[in-house]
């Protein structure tokens, strides 16, 4: 069958297939080459880095010296600890807050329901960088600057996308479930905790991954509010490479690669959920 078909391919079809794969390979190359060049450089010794072209492959692929010294220099052990603390707290907090809010907004009809939805939607239109001018002032007054908890509380807030993912998902959970639970004498808290949360699991995974990636990568507010070096998260620990190192890119690249690894790891494991999250997050508009 396949052989028969192959015979019928015309010149036009063959060139169409060629163009298709050529463009896919080309854009994949474009996407990957900046990262690959970093990997190559990260394995080079100082002497090698200075004497060879950046795209020349390193002599020894097992030369992890740069990774070790980058890890030490940027105090990345501490940074990973900080990032983990921030991630765990922000994720638990924002999932609880988000599902609770979605539960109330989706299941109860009360005055101001629509207004609150719009308040959250409108908040997402305000560009974060501009808002930090006055948020900085508030953080200062609350004494939240240079404390991990201050940054965590701030990061838990405005998160419209996951709220919308939850609400969308809840619309497909039958209300009759709630009703029969009520007849059985369950309280609303029990309904939320024992029926909603378990059923929301796929949506929770999706929003956790999205929120997790954006929290792990967040650097602007982290840089503003976590100025003490020992509070740095992974994203801003890379800043220690700016001043004294100048252009020792073999070291810098090693640091960059270390900071990418968790994202790469999560991406390889949860590809599908990440793609789902991207599409789900867009539908809300």
């Amino acid at each position: 069958m396949a052989a028969k078909r192959r015979k019928h391919y015309g010149v036009g079809q063959i060139s169409a297939i060629f163009i298709k794969y050529f463009s896919l390979v080309f854009f994949s190359f474009v996407a990957v080459i900046p990262i690959v060049s970093c990997v190559i450089t990260a394995f080079k010794t100082d002497a090698e880095y200075q004497s060879t072209n950046v795209m020349t492959l390193p002599e020894n692929w097992l030369n992890f010296d740069n990774f070790i010294s980058a890890f030490k220099m940027a105090n990345m052990g501490r940074a990973f600890l900080n990032s983990t603390i921030v991630l765990v707290c922000v994720l638990i907090g924002s999932i609880l807050i988000g599902t609770q809010l979605a539960y109330v907004l989706n299941r109860f009809n009360f005055l101001g329901n629509a207004l609150i939805r719009n308040l959250f939607l409108f908040a997402s239109l305000l560009p974060g960088v501009a808002m930090q001018i006055s948020v900085y002032n508030i953080m200062q007054q609350l004494g939240f600057i240079n404390h991990l908890y201050g940054y965590i509380i701030m990061m838990m807030g405005t998160d419209v996308i996951s709220i919308y993912i939850f609400i969308q998902f809840m619309e497909n959970i039958s209300v009759s479930l709630d009703e029969s639970a009520i007849i059985d004498g369950a309280s609303y808290m029990q309904i939320y905790w024992k029926i909603m949360l378990p059923l929301l699991r796929p949506a929770i995974v999706t929003s956790m991954i999205l929120k997790g990636v954006s929290t792990y990568n967040e650097y602007y507010s982290a840089n503003l509010y976590l100025q003490r070096p020992e509070l740095r998260t992974v994203a801003i620990s890379l800043y220690s490479f700016t001043g004294p190192l100048g252009s020792r890119y073999n070291l810098i690249c090693a640091g960059v690669i270390i900071s990418l690894l968790p994202a790469l790891f999560v991406f390889i494991i949860c590809q599908k959920q990440i793609y789902n999250g991207i599409t789900a997050g867009a539908v809300k508009g």
Binding site: F27, S28, S37, Q140, G157, S187, A235, S259, L260
Partner: protein
């Protein structure tokens, strides 16, 4: 029997009514923290920012009321207002990005060998943090480094190549390139998701009717992802007005790459002219809102005719069905 069900309904209703109080409690309990955070970190700062824009002030120390002076300065200061022009580069970039994403998404939505691997490669840049991107591209664009080497493979001569981050004007193109690099894969995944929601039978039917791939794209794929493309155009235009990351992490706004937000950030946190920075933020928000509303109106207007046509067709169909039904009944 009837009384029994009536009785049951009543008791259920009573139970529900007795739950009104509980409902109020749970609504309050579940909304208190989210709303507190929303007001504390969004609406209250927003109001504060509006107030700040009328004062001459630093984060600490005395404040003096200056009326509309800050706004005047936003419009009169050449550095500030010319930085807005840079958004044209970013707008052009985002159009290029959308076209590339749409093209690749269409390619990948047909059966492709290794499709998932291509998709993964092109998507991954989206997951890299901003600071890392800054380092990667400082390295990438350095004279004689990655980009120059790749161009030399293609036959260019290093002596003829410009300095990617130093040449005025061109450096903005380089920066926009990094933003396209970062987001085209994400846009592509979005579009693939939208295309996949089209019924597969549509393609089969079209193929049977002898439609080629291009016709399939124009008549099946494009109409079905119209809304998401429109949404992305709107987002990309507002996004390019507030472009910030590439110049902030790569050039720090040097050599004429300072976009509006980079200038604003510097004024707020380095120069500590909080009032002026607030006025800048308010002005840009106004521009963004106006642009968003205008675009929404425009797209409503542009699609109005198409929708009207659809309605005419469906109503005609409905009428035809009615007529044929009547005819059948008559027979």
């Amino acid at each position: 029997m009837i009384t029994y069900t009536d009785h049951r309904k009543k008791s259920l209703r009573q139970r529900l009514r007795s739950r009104k109080g509980q409902q109020a409690i749970i609504i309050f309990a579940f909304m208190f923290i989210p709303l507190l955070l929303l007001f504390l970190f969004t609406y209250f700062p927003f109001a504060e920012m509006f107030k700040f824009s009328f004062y001459k002030m630093k984060y600490t120390g005395t404040r003096t009321y200056v009326g509309l002076d800050n706004y005047k300065e936003v419009f009169e200061n050449k550095q500030i207002f010319s930085s807005l022009k840079l958004c044209l580069y970013y707008m052009a970039g985002s159009i290029v990005q959308l076209v590339i994403a749409l093209y690749l998404a269409t390619m990948l939505s047909f059966k492709t060998k290794g499709g998932n691997i291509f998709k993964g490669f092109m998507f991954f840049p989206f997951l890299i943090n901003g600071i890392a991107i800054g380092f990667i591209f400082k390295f990438f664009y350095t004279r004689g480094f990655v980009f120059d080497t790749v161009l030399q493979w293609c036959g260019f001569n290093l002596e003829n190549l410009p300095f990617w981050l130093r040449t005025q004007g061109l450096n903005n193109v380089s920066l926009v390139g990094t933003s396209v690099w970062r987001y085209f894969g994400q846009n592509m995944v979005l579009f693939i998701g939208a295309i996949m929601s089209v019924d597969a039978e549509m393609y089969e039917a079209a193929e049977l009717d002898g439609a080629n791939k291009f016709q399939q794209f124009m008549h099946i794929i494009l109409p079905s992802i119209k809304t998401i493309v429109t949404l992305n155009i709107i987002l990309s235009i507002t996004g390019s007005l507030s472009a910030f990351e590439p110049p902030y992490v790569i050039t720090n706004g040097g050599n004429g790459t300072a976009t509006y937000f980079v200038v604003m950030n510097r004024i707020a946190h380095t120069n500590q002219k909080v009032g002026l920075a607030s006025a800048m933020a308010i002005v840009l928000l106004m521009i963004i809102f106006t642009a968003t509303i205008l675009q929404k109106l425009f797209f409503k207007f542009a699609f109005r005719n198409a929708n009207a046509e659809d309605e005419v067709v469906t109503s005609k169909k409905r009428r035809r069905n009615k007529v044929s039904k009547k005819q059948k009944e008559a027979v």
